[in-house]
C-alpha cells in the first residue's frame, strides 16, 4: 500500500556517485527532473529500475539510487524487455541517446515499441556522438561537419518520432532539456502510461554540438520555433501567439498568420487520442526552419501491453492445466516399461 510508504524526496533518489558529465551538459537538467518525478509516483525506491546502453546519457543509472543497469551499446531496450518479462511489477525506465537508440540499437528500440512492453524510454537527442568525441549521429543534419565528416555529412538523418510512430508506438512525446516545467509534465505523463512510452528530449551537447537546439530552447527565439501540443486545442505559436498550423486543401500542413479572415477554428486541432497515427506522423514531420517543431504528447492511445499479456497467458495456462507437474511432463508421449 502506498500509504505505508515513507515520503520520499528527490534527494532520496540521488546515488553516492560523482556526476561525470561535462559542465552545463543538458543531461543534468533531465536527471534533475527525473529525480523530482520518482517520489511523486507512489512507489518505493526498490520498485524502480533504470536501464541504459552506452553513451553519455547512459551514465544516467549510476546517478539514481534505484536498481540500475548500465549495459552495452544499443541493447538497453532488449535487456529491459527481459526484466519486464519476469518482473512486470517493476517500473522500468530506459535511458538512451540518438546513437545508442537509433543507430546500433535501432532494431531493439523498434521492437520494444512494437510490442508495447511496459517501458518508459527517454531518448536524449543531441544529434552527435559525444562519448566517442564528436562524430555525426543518425539525427545529425546533412552537411554537418564533424570529426568523421570533415566535408559535411552526406547521411540523411531520421526522425526519432517517425521511427516510434512507424513502430506503432502507443505513447509518443517530445520535450526540451532546459524546458524543465514541460519536461517534468511529459515525464509524469509517460510514467502513468500503460505500454511503451517513448519520449524524445532535445538535449544540448555543449562540447561537441553546442547550440544545435537553441532555436527550440532559447527564450525569445523558441516561441517562433516550437509549438506546444495540447489535446483538443488548436496549434498556435509565436511570441505574440499570432501564428498557427493549418491543414490546407492539398492535405498538407502550412503555417498561417491568425487574423485577416483566419481564426483559431480554421487551425489544426490536436488529437493525441486519435486511433489512427497519421496526424501524429504528420506532426512528427514538421521540421525547423520550415515549421515550428511540436513539443508535447503527439500520441497517447491504449493497446495491449506485452508483459501484461504474457502474464495473462501464464495465468491462463496455470488455470487450464494446473501447476506444471514434472512427472506428467516426463511421461508425456508413448512410454514403455522394462522389467
Amino acid at each position: 500500500m502506498t500509504t505505508d510508504l515513507p515520503v520520499l524526496t528527490p534527494k532520496d533518489f540521488a546515488s553516492d556517485q560523482e556526476l561525470r558529465w561535462c559542465p552545463r551538459c543538458g543531461d543534468y537538467s533531465i536527471l534533475a527532473q527525473f529525480k523530482k518525478l520518482l517520489p511523486t509516483l507512489g512507489l518505493p525506491k526498490e520498485d524502480f529500475m533504470v536501464v541504459s546502453g552506452i553513451g553519455c546519457s547512459s551514465r544516467f543509472p549510476y546517478y539514481v539510487d534505484t536498481y540500475g543497469f548500465h549495459s552495452i551499446h544499443g541493447r538497453a531496450p532488449a535487456i529491459a524487455s527481459g526484466i519486464k518479462c519476469v518482473r512486470p511489477d517493476l517500473q522500468v525506465w530506459v535511458i538512451t541517446g540518438d546513437g545508442d537508440g537509433l543507430s546500433i540499437g535501432g532494431n531493439h528500440l523498434m521492437h520494444a515499441i512494437r510490442r508495447n512492453i511496459n517501458l518508459k524510454i527517454i531518448l536524449f537527442n543531441n544529434q552527435i556522438y559525444g562519448l566517442t568525441k564528436g562524430q555525426y549521429s543518425p539525427t545529425s543534419p546533412i552537411g554537418k561537419r564533424t570529426k568523421s565528416t570533415p566535408l559535411g555529412s552526406i547521411d540523411n538523418p531520421l526522425s526519432p518520432l517517425s521511427i516510434a510512430i512507424g513502430s506503432e508506438a502507443s505513447f509518443v512525446a517530445r520535450s526540451v532539456d532546459v524546458d524543465t516545467k514541460h519536461l517534468s509534465s511529459i515525464l509524469q505523463r509517460a510514467a502513468h502510461h500503460d505500454g511503451t512510452a517513448f519520449i524524445e528530449v532535445y538535449q544540448d551537447c555543449n562540447v561537441f554540438n553546442s547550440g544545435a537546439f537553441y532555436y527550440a530552447s532559447k527564450k525569445g527565439i523558441k516561441e517562433d520555433n516550437i509549438v506546444y501540443l495540447e489535446h483538443g486545442k488548436p496549434l498556435i505559436f509565436g511570441t505574440e501567439r499570432d501564428k498557427g498550423i493549418r491543414v490546407n486543401e492539398g492535405n498538407r500542413l502550412e503555417v498561417v498568420a491568425l487574423g485577416r479572415g483566419i481564426s483559431e477554428d480554421d487551425l489544426l486541432f490536436h488529437d493525441e487520442l486519435a486511433a489512427e497515427p497519421s496526424l501524429a506522423f504528420l506532426l512528427a514531420r514538421m521540421r525547423h526552419p520550415e515549421f515550428p517543431e511540436p513539443v508535447g504528447v503527439f500520441r497517447s492511445v491504449e493497446r495491449p501491453v506485452y508483459d501484461v499479456a504474457l502474464e495473462e497467458q501464464v495465468t491462463a495456462a496455470l488455470e487450464q492445466s494446473g501447476p506444471g507437474d514434472l512427472e506428467a511432463l516426463f511421461n508425456s508421449g508413448d512410454t514403455w516399461t522394462v522389467e
Partner: protein, 619 residues
C-alpha cells in the same frame, strides 16, 4: 502384438539382433515422419533405438533434386546400442535422387526397396541419371532389390475415399512404412493412435493414411517378392520406465525441471535458428510451469533479454546455433562482467558463417572458450547423448546459479535431432538447485554487490528487494562495492578473480571416469555428441583385449580436477573430434602433452568403423 502375419505358408520369420534402416526420399515425401514413426513403434516395442535424421536446409528444394533429398536413419536393436549405425541393412528410396545419394551406405547383401513409380524420365534427369539405375544390373547385383509401384499401390489402397491423385500420392510414405512394419514385424498401434490424433479434424486423411499403411503391410504379406521377414527382440535395457527423447526436447525438459525443482519461474529468450528452434517450441508450451518464453527480434536481443532477466533475479536461459552464438558474444560478455547466472545453449552445426545449418559439427568449442572480447572466462559443459541433455541442462543451471556466472551448454545437431530411449527419472533422483538471494545489506556500508564468498561468488540480490538498490554494468568495477573503477591494479585483480572463480567450479563437478583400461596404451578422449560412436569403438577394441580406455568429457571448462592424472596413465592420448582439432589444442596447451588428433568435418557423425581404425593406428 503382431500375430496376424505368422502362419503364412511361404513366409519365414528370422531373428536379428540389430537392424539399421534408412528412409530417404524427396523433402516432400514425408521421410522424417516415416522414420520417427518407425522409431516410436520400435521404442515402444522395447528395442534400443538411435536415430539420425538428415535433411536439407531448404524447406522445399526443387522436387526430385539431389539437394532435396531427406533421410532418416534408425538403428533398432535387442542390444544396448550407442549410434545410429555405420552401414544400412535396409534402404527405402522413394526416388532416383534418394537412391543416388544413399546407395553407397547400403551394405552388400542389404535390402533395397524402391518406389519404381518415381523413376520416369523427368525424375531420372533431375537426379542426373542418363538411364534408369533400376535397369543397371551391375549396380543392383549386390542387393536384395524390391521394386515397388508405391504410387499406384497407394492410390489403390485409398480408392473410394474421394482423394485426388495428388492427395493419394502423398500417402505413399505410409505405404512404405506399412511395408517396413511388415518386414520387421512391428506392431502399428502407436502409429494408428498418432494418425487418428494428428488428423482428428480430417478423418478422410486419417483413413487414407491408415489404409495406405495397411496396404503396405498387405503387400509385404502377399507378394512373392518378400520371402522373409525379421524379428528384433526387445533390448535388455536397465529396468525402468522409458520414453523416446531427442536432445532438444531433453534440453527443454531439463531447463524446466531445474526451475521447477527450485520453485522458480524460468525465462527463455530465443531467436528461431536451426537446429535450436525446437527448444523454444518445447518451452513455449510449458507456461503452466511458469516458463516465460520471449521470441526476440534477433540473437543479440535474446541474449540481452536473458541478461536482463538474470539481473532481475530469475532463472534465465537462451539457445542458439551457428552464427547466432557469435551474435550473442557481446551480451554474454556483459553476463560475465556483471557475474549473473544464465545458461546459453549452443546447438552446434556446420560452419563457418551459415555453413551447414542442418548438419552436425563440434566446431564451437574454441568460440565458447574464447569468443568474447577481453579475458572473459565462463564454465562450459557438453551433453553426450540426447537423454544426457536433460541432465547437463540442469548441471549448467546449477553451476550458473551456484557460481553466479553464465554457463555455456554445448550440444550439436546430431544429438539435438537424434532420439534415443530415455529412462524416465524418479523425482527423488533429482537434486533441486538452491538459489540464495540476500534480503539485507552485507556490509556496514550497505549492500555491496561484489562482496564475495570464499569461492569468490558474489551475492544475487533480486530487483525489488528493499534496501539493496544497486547498479551493475559493463564497465570494470571495484571488487566489493561494484563502483566503476579504472585503476590498473584493480583491473588485474578483477580479471584474476573472474578467472579463479570459474576455475573453482572444478571443485563442484565430478571427477572424470574412464571406461575400459584405467591406464595403458591409448586413451581416447572425446566430448559432446561423439560419445556413442567413440564408446562403441573403444568397447569393440576392449573386448578384443586391447589396452584402450575412453574418457568422455562433459565438463570442458574447467576440466575435471583428476584429468591430468588420468592422462598421465596412458602412452598416447587420442582426441577424435568433428572439427579440425579444438579440444586437442586445449589439452596440449593445458597439460603439455603430445595429444594426437583424429578429425572429421563432413557434417556427419563418426562411424564406429573409422574410429576403430583410427585408434588401432595408435596401438
Amino acid at each position: 502384438m503382431s500375430t496376424d502375419v505368422a502362419p503364412s505358408n511361404d513366409k519365414r520369420t528370422e531373428e536379428r539382433d540389430t537392424i539399421v534402416i534408412r528412409f530417404c526420399g524427396d523433402s516432400g515425401d514425408g521421410m522424417q515422419l516415416a522414420g520417427s514413426q518407425m522409431t516410436n513403434v520400435s521404442a515402444v516395442f522395447g528395442n534400443d533405438v538411435s536415430t539420425l535424421p538428415d535433411f536439407p536446409a531448404e524447406i522445399r528444394a526443387p522436387a526430385g533434386s539431389l539437394a532435396g533429398v531427406s533421410g532418416f536413419q534408425l538403428h533398432f536393436s535387442s542390444n544396448d546400442i550407442y549410434t545410429p549405425g555405420d552401414e544400412v541393412d535396409t534402404l527405402v528410396a522413394m526416388n532416383p535422387a534418394a537412391l543416388k545419394t544413399n546407395i553407397a551406405d547400403l551394405k552388400r547383401g542389404g535390402t533395397l526397396i524402391v518406389n519404381s513409380d518415381s523413376f520416369d524420365k523427368g525424375d531420372l534427369r533431375k537426379a542426373g541419371y542418363d538411364s534408369s539405375p533400376l535397369d543397371d544390373e551391375q549396380l543392383l547385383a549386390p542387393y536384395d532389390v524390391h521394386k515397388v509401384e508405391m504410387n499406384r499401390l497407394s492410390r489403390d489402397a485409398v480408392d473410394g475415399l474421394g482423394l485426388s491423385p495428388r492427395e493419394a500420392d502423398r500417402c505413399k510414405n505410409f505405404f512404405a512404412l506399412g511395408l517396413v512394419y511388415w518386414l520387421y514385424d512391428r506392431d502399428p498401434t502407436p502409429t494408428h493412435e498418432w494418425v487418428n490424433q494428428k488428423f482428428a479434424k480430417k478423418p478422410e486423411i486419417a483413413e487414407a493414411n491408415l489404409r495406405a499403411l495397411q496396404g503396405g503391410h498387405n503387400f509385404g504379406l502377399s507378394t512373392e517378392s518378400f520371402r522373409v521377414h525379421y524379428r528384433v527382440p526387445p533390448a535388455k535395457l536397465a529396468p525402468g520406465k522409458y520414453r523416446k527423447i531427442t536432445g532438444n526436447e531433453a534440453v527443454a525438459v531439463g531447463l524446466a525441471t531445474a526451475a521447477k525443482l527450485a520453485g522458480r519461474p524460468l525465462f527463455y529468450a530465443g531467436y528461431p535458428i536451426t537446429p535450436a528452434s525446437d527448444i523454444l517450441h518445447e518451452l513455449s508450451r510449458l507456461k503452466h510451469f511458469g516458463v516465460r518464453t520471449f521470441q526476440a527480434e534477433d540473437e543479440i536481443a535474446a541474449m540481452a533479454a536473458a541478461v536482463g532477466a538474470a539481473f532481475a533475479g530469475e532463472f534465465s536461459t537462451t539457445a542458439t546455433s551457428g552464427p547466432g552464438i557469435c551474435l550473442k558474444g557481446e551480451a554474454m560478455g556483459l553476463g560475465v562482467m556483471t557475474e549473473l547466472p544464465m545458461v546459453i545453449v549452443d546447438v552446434q552445426r556446420g560452419g563457418p558463417s551459415t555453413g551447414l545449418p542442418t548438419k552436425t559439427e563440434q566446431s564451437d568449442l574454441m568460440l565458447a572458450m574464447f569468443g568474447r572480447n577481453g579475458e572473459s572466462p565462463l564454465p562450459i559443459v557438453a551433453a553426450a547423448t540426447p537423454g544426457d541433455c536433460f541432465w547437463m541442462a540442469q548441471e549448467a543451471m546449477r553451476i550458473a546459479v551456484e557460481f553466479m556466472t553464465p554457463v555455456i551448454l554445448l550440444t550439436d545437431g546430431y544429438i539435438a535431432n537424434g532420439a534415443e530411449p530415455w529412462r524416465i527419472p524418479e523425482i527423488e533422483e533429482l537434486v533441486p538447485i538452491v538459489a540464495v538471494h540476500p534480503t539485507e545489506a552485507n556490509s556496514p556500508e550497505g549492500y555491496q554487490p561484489y562482496l564475495r564468498d570464499d569461492r569468490l561468488v558474489r551475492p544475487w540480490a533480486r530487483a525489488g528487494t528493499p534496501g539493496l538498490m544497486h547498479r551493475v554494468g559493463g564497465l570494470e568495477k571495484s571488487d566489493g562495492s561494484g563502483n566503476v573503477d579504472y585503476d590498473p591494479h584493480n583491473h588485474e585483480h578483477m580479471s584474476q578473480v573472474r578467472a579463479q572463480k570459474v576455475a573453482n567450479v572444478a571443485e563442484a563437478i565430478p571427477e572424470q571416469d574412464v571406461f575400459g583400461a584405467p591406464e595403458g596404451d591409448v586413451l581416447v578422449l572425446s566430448w559432446g555428441g561423439t560419445y556413442g560412436a567413440v564408446r562403441q569403438a573403444v568397447k569393440t577394441l576392449v573386448e578384443d583385449g586391447r589396452s584402450v580406455g575412453h574418457a568422455h568429457l562433459k565438463y570442458l571448462n574447467p576440466f575435471p580436477r583428476n584429468l591430468a592424472e588420468l592422462l598421465d596413465g596412458f602412452q598416447t592420448v587420442l582426441v577424435p573430434e568433428l572439427n579440425l582439432g579444438q579440444l586437442v589444442q586445449l589439452i596440449r596447451a593445458q597439460f603439455l602433452i603430445d595429444a594426437r588428433q583424429y578429425n572429421k568435418i563432413q557434417g556427419k557423425p563418426f562411424r564406429v568403423s573409422e574410429l576403430v581404425e583410427a585408434i588401432e593406428s595408435h596401438l
